[in-house]
């Protein structure tokens, strides 16, 4: 395998994915029930995981995999549950940017932030039904 060729392809595609993920997170911040940005985030995390795995960039693979899992669980349970969820995804995106930036600068990623990896591993809370208005006594 021509590692230099695939590293270059990875940096190009992952860079585009990070920009799209950032836009999708901002869209979810405005509307946490929006399905399209959730789908896009899931696909982008999946794609980064696959490419990083092929190049043995294990810290990037791990963060992308855990983020993908977490987004996937939110997809299957009907959306984002707790308000803490999105800030965690923003942190994961920042971490991916840091790790991929290191590949661009030095050719290899450093270790992933262990606290973030642990936080991503905890199962997200399921989406809650919107609160119903209490009946008004007349």
């Amino acid at each position: 395998m021509d590692v230099a060729k695939y590293r270059s392809l990875f940096l190009e595609e992952a860079g585009e994915h990070l920009a799209e993920m950032s836009r999708a997170l901002l869209a979810l911040e405005k509307d946490p029930s929006a399905a399209e940005p959730l789908e896009l985030l899931f696909r982008m995390a999946h794609s980064i995981k696959g490419m990083a795995g092929s190049l043995e960039y294990d810290p990037i693979t791990e963060v992308a995999h855990r983020l993908e899992d977490r987004i996937g669980r939110c997809r299957s349970t009907g959306g984002i549950g707790e308000p803490e969820e999105l800030p965690l995804w923003f942190r994961a995106l920042e971490e991916l940017e840091r790790l991929i930036g290191a590949v661009r600068a030095s050719g290899a990623p450093p270790s992933a932030d262990p606290a973030l990896v642990r936080a991503l591993a905890v199962a997200p809370a399921p989406a809650r039904e919107p609160k119903k208005k209490a009946p008004t006594l007349r």
Binding site: M1, D2, Y6, R43, K49, G50, M51, E68
Partner: protein, 133 residues
């Protein structure tokens, strides 16, 4: 050398590669083209994959399971609805076992897992076309 052997050696297996990542399409091409396969088309999403299948009639499709516009799973269903003999190998990754099971139930021949092991990719694709490894 028999006529059959000669034909086997000179007739490449025509493959459509469907994956939204150029990285993965390149990697599949690099693994299979020196080994008797010819990539005759590429698709970057599920809708393109179904259209390209109908236009190109490949011997085999490699189909990423997560793609935009139409998922790999839905694309397999659409392809098999128009051609029940179509040979489709799913491309999956760690943690997608349930999607792979659904795709196999829908009629996909087999699956390969990212990151690719070239030998495993070649064995799986050959088996998908010939019925043997």
């Amino acid at each position: 050398m028999t006529m059959t052997n000669t034909m086997t050696m000179t007739t490449a297996i025509r493959v459509l590669v469907a994956d939204d990542a150029r990285f993965m399409r390149e990697m599949i091409r690099e693994i299979i083209e020196p080994e008797g396969f010819q990539v005759i088309g590429e698709a970057t999403d599920g809708v393109e994959a179904v259209e390209a299948f109908q236009n190109l009639k490949p011997d085999l499709v490699t189909m990423d399971i997560v793609m935009p516009r139409c998922s790999g799973l839905d694309s397999v269903r659409k392809i098999l609805a128009t051609d029940p003999q179509a040979r489709v190998v799913m491309v999956s990754a760690l943690g997608q076992e349930s999607l792979v099971s659904e795709a196999l139930e829908a009629g996909a021949c087999d699956f390969i897992v990212k990151p690719f092991k070239p030998d495993r990719v070649l064995v799986t694709l050959r088996k998908a076309v010939t019925g043997r490894s």
